[in-house]
Symmetry: C2
Subunit: 575 residues, 2 copies
């Protein structure tokens, strides 16, 4: 500590001084011209005329505290932690609150351990370029209607949340359980609170008494607000509202209407789910800032949402501001409208410049997340559906992830349904324990001809989701996915294509550039199979087994009516 | 936790519902009409139509979160913890951050233990009406030029700060040591940070490099800002600024000029030193709110300074807001300009109404704080000063606590100075270990004829301070103080008067009403001794040995030149 005082008092040389910066002060909203002096990874002063071993000329750019992503599922990028970190850091992120909900649903706690270890091993210039606050997922499995790779009980939660590994409890999606007073859900929350760890929320449009009941449990955040009124009510009841800049789910434009000069301290920026292309091309929190400012939120308030507010909400000491005793996590940006990042420092070490990370890291390999696609051998016959009469059909709605229910008259030939025009088959195959569980239903509104597509990413249990118009091609897709250890697979006549997601069937260990290129390549091939306009060939499949979004979903256990919250038949019930 | 969810969802009766309230929301700055529902001491909902075992009709009054006093030396009220709590709570205070700096300088850690225990024993309706976050004083003794009753080293600090007893480290007044890189001071701060405990500051007008050095140590607050510019600079460097509403030291009027809609979250309200009369007649944080709003700070921002901001600064979970999961610490006030408190709830229990505490508590007695005035027997001769020539005289400046230096020609008769007109003697007698240490000097600007006054409250070491124009009356005052175990004493001709401060020589165990009456009585007697206009007879003495305020001070070791920071002679040095 004496060294820091000495450096602050100019009795000793600093390690780094960033000169000619417009230093944004998140406590006052002002910008000061001057120097940021760094010693031992910590900001020791804002001032002038420091002596230093190294100088960095900011050339008049703005210096901001590094951004904090308040809530992200890294797995949704399909990138390895190492590749994710490169993109994230190059866009100015210094800290993420990561909820490894996907990988823990596949691999259990070992999935979180893998993520943390992989991030920890990224070291450059003696520092971790990205700080990761890892949440313990609260909803594993997410619903009782599906087979996930692991289950984390309240008892296990109580044990795990005490580990340094875990920063807090991840988004409590099961809000019906919380407001219903369900013992298991409340015990999970209770264990986190007992250890003084934060509990994240997920409560779209929860209101009035139900919101009171959700908040009284001690849940502190929500990233699912459906509109500005929803935000205002959440803020009133003491939740922090996370403005989401995901790849499919954005709510900044609408929800920023609730931000004002009094309450801005209660808003945070987050990504939630963001794909590699968006991370690479548009960025992460930097992109959120740009959007927020484009919505006429003053830059000073927007920056607080990306920095100080998040640090306060999560109790991140030394983060979120440029001031003495704070970590020297500093981003230089060109302006406060586009927020184009030109340099990123982590604890005083330059870790990214001009949009490129300066570090790289070899992949951390763990058996815990390899070879996770375990299915019983499948044949074309397994995809037969002996349906006749009024069949219940899941209808994919374009430009979103909702589905509808419709009924179509069908007939069966040789024990298999004859697919009417515009309808294909959807199958979900359990892939964690090779149980042979398979759910099947009819799907309309999707398009697709002469083949099949499949993925091993399928919220939240990540079983195999396969769509096709032929049993043989669907079986071939299942086999391709098994062989690749998961990924995206396509069979179109003779053409076979697979992009392996070798890490838990969720993420790839290739470079970000390759992930983007390969995803685009296989998606373009799928487009040639006449998938309908407004439907993302693979990405829409990812949500078709998410049994919490209306109306119909398919899991390995069967077809789910989400509103009734039960498994239903593929044939219309006689009244 | 299930009970709370059940109450929030109206599946179960609440314990208390406050009806017809205008509920101030410190997250949004809005006021909502409705009910506050309480179960198990916690707010379970803001809404309507709750069932409850009890109802309280707020009759349209405003409901605010109970106030938090960010920094107070309870000892300065001269009240026992029990009597202090009654006044504090009746004025809407729910939590105080108490720095027992005075009593620890007299009694050591046992003094803090006494305070905590005395507060803890105040129980009413199953709750402690006042939550007390006890700081471990950082500067015991405050300077090397005086004999205090105890010393708390860095080593002892490291051990003590780990105890549940202590919430954080009290104001680090020794800023020269901090910015100078002094090992002992930095180790104290380091121990607190290691245990994740907050460190309070005290750094009047500290600026630029020195402020950087002070802040880099990790000090988080300052209540000594001298003006709005000082506030702005402290805020920029990451400190929270505490607006002070003490009895002698106010800075709200000036410092509130620095508060604006962006930075208001960084300001807190505190009392620091507040006497019983002010606490009783004007209040505590309620009075601070009134003053802040009178300075044109919007009530919504002012209330945040008294509640949420302080809770955030000090990490007080469940405090500072009216929202589900927060403690039911609720104040009803008539309006948002005068903030007249009409009812106070603690964890859902009504603890004060119409300015009166509903609880009382018998005094907790502890030997650790009794009989603390230990002096060697004194006689009139001990007050002799054999001075002749150009004598250095301490000049009391009216309406403040500064002193000046002047030189007056004096002569000696029979080994004692002949007091020139308008000059009396000042003596400080060590009273902790009966060492016989006595400092003496001449004092002008004070007035006083035909007797002597003395007190055992004397910042920061609390030795006996006696002023008088005759050796015999000064000796009598010393004896009166010894017999009373400390207090305020007066000898005026034949008249003798003493008001005992039997708790550590700092506080009285009588009721607040008596403390106020007796203080007034003895002060009025002193006024008759021709103490000058603008000089508070006893209260000005209290600061005459505070060896950190310019220009001259007297301790038991001798006369101190504060600017030179050394002991000097009572006779002008020859050049």
């Amino acid at each position: 500590m004496k060294m820091l005082a000495d450096a602050a008092m100019k009795r000793r040389e600093c390690d780094l001084v960033i000169k000619n910066a417009k230093i944004f002060n998140v406590f006052t909203g002002e910008t000061e011209k001057g120097e940021i002096a760094v010693k031992d990874g910590v900001i020791v002063g804002i001032g002038t005329d420091y002596g230093s071993a190294k100088f960095y000329d900011a050339k008049g750019r703005y210096a901001l505290p590094s951004f904090i992503d308040a809530h992200i599922h890294v797995e949704s990028s399909m990138l390895s932690p190492e590749e994710f970190a490169k993109l994230s850091v190059s866009h100015g992120t210094g800290t993420i609150v990561a909820d490894p909900h996907e990988i823990v649903n596949v691999c259990g706690i070992a999935g979180a351990e893998y993520m943390k270890e992989a991030f920890s091993r990224i070291v450059y210039g003696g520092v971790n370029p990205l700080d990761v606050c890892m949440q313990l997922p609260s909803c594993v499995p997410a619903t009782p209607f599906e087979t996930s790779g692991a289950a984390v009980s309240a008892k296990e939660t109580a044990r795990e949340i005490d580990r340094d590994l875990f920063f807090g409890l991840g988004e409590m999606m099961n809000y019906p359980a919380v407001i219903g007073g369900d013992d298991e859900a409340l015990r999970k929350i209770g264990s986190a609170k007992e250890k003084n760890k934060i509990v994240d929320g997920h409560a779209p449009a929860l209101s009035k008494d139900a919101l009171n009941a959700y908040a009284v449990a001690g849940i502190k955040t929500d990233h699912e607000c459906v509109d500005a009124d929803d935000c205002r009510e959440k803020i009133r009841r003491g939740l922090y509202v996370q403005l989401r800049n995901g790849s499919s789910a954005h709510n900044i434009e609408e929800n920023s209407k609730a931000v004002n000069e009094y309450n801005y301290r209660r808003f945070l920026l987050c990504s939630d789910d963001r794909n590699a292309y968006d991370l690479s091309e548009h960025g992460e929190i930097d992109d959120g800032l740009k959007r927020l400012v484009a919505c006429d939120i003053p830059a000073s308030q927007a920056i607080a949402c990306a920095t100080l507010n998040t640090a306060e909400c999560y109790g991140l000491k030394g983060k979120g501001a440029l001031a003495p005793s704070y970590d020297a996590d500093i981003v230089l940006v060109e302006d406060l409208t586009e927020f184009k990042v030109s340099a990123v420092f982590k604890k005083g070490v330059l870790v990214a410049e001009n949009g490129r990370a300066l570090f790289s890291a070899s992949r951390y390999r763990s058996n815990a997340v390899a070879g996770t696609v375990k299915i019983k051998p499948v044949s074309a016959d397994d995809f037969k559906m002996d349906l006749s009469g009024d069949a219940r059909v899941m209808r994919a709605v374009p430009n979103g992830i909702l589905t509808e229910e419709e009924f179509v008259k069908v007939r069966s030939e040789e024990g298999d349904v004859v697919l009417p025009n515009g309808i294909c088959k959807l199958a979900v195959i359990e892939r964690h324990f090779a149980t042979g569980n398979m759910g099947k239903c009819l799907l309309s509104g999707y398009g697709l001809r002469d083949g099949a597509l499949g993925v091993s990413v399928a919220h939240d249990s990540h079983n195999l989701v396969i769509v096709g118009d032929g049993n043989e091609s669907m079986a071939r897709v299942a086999r391709l996915l098994r062989e690749a250890g998961g990924g995206m697979a396509l069979v179109h006549g003779d053409c076979e294509k697979v992009f392996a997601l070798d890490i838990a069937g969720l993420m790839s260990s290739v470079s970000a550039e390759e992930v983007i290129a390969k995803t685009r390549e296989i998606t373009e091939l799928a487009r040639k199979m006449d998938v309908k306009e407004g439907i993302e060939p693979f990405m829409s499949l990812v949500f078709l087994s998410l049994a919490v979004i209306p109306k119909l979903r398919l899991t390995d256990r069967g077809l789910i009516d989400v509103e009734q919250f039960k498994i239903i038949s593929s044939i219309k019930e006689s009244l």
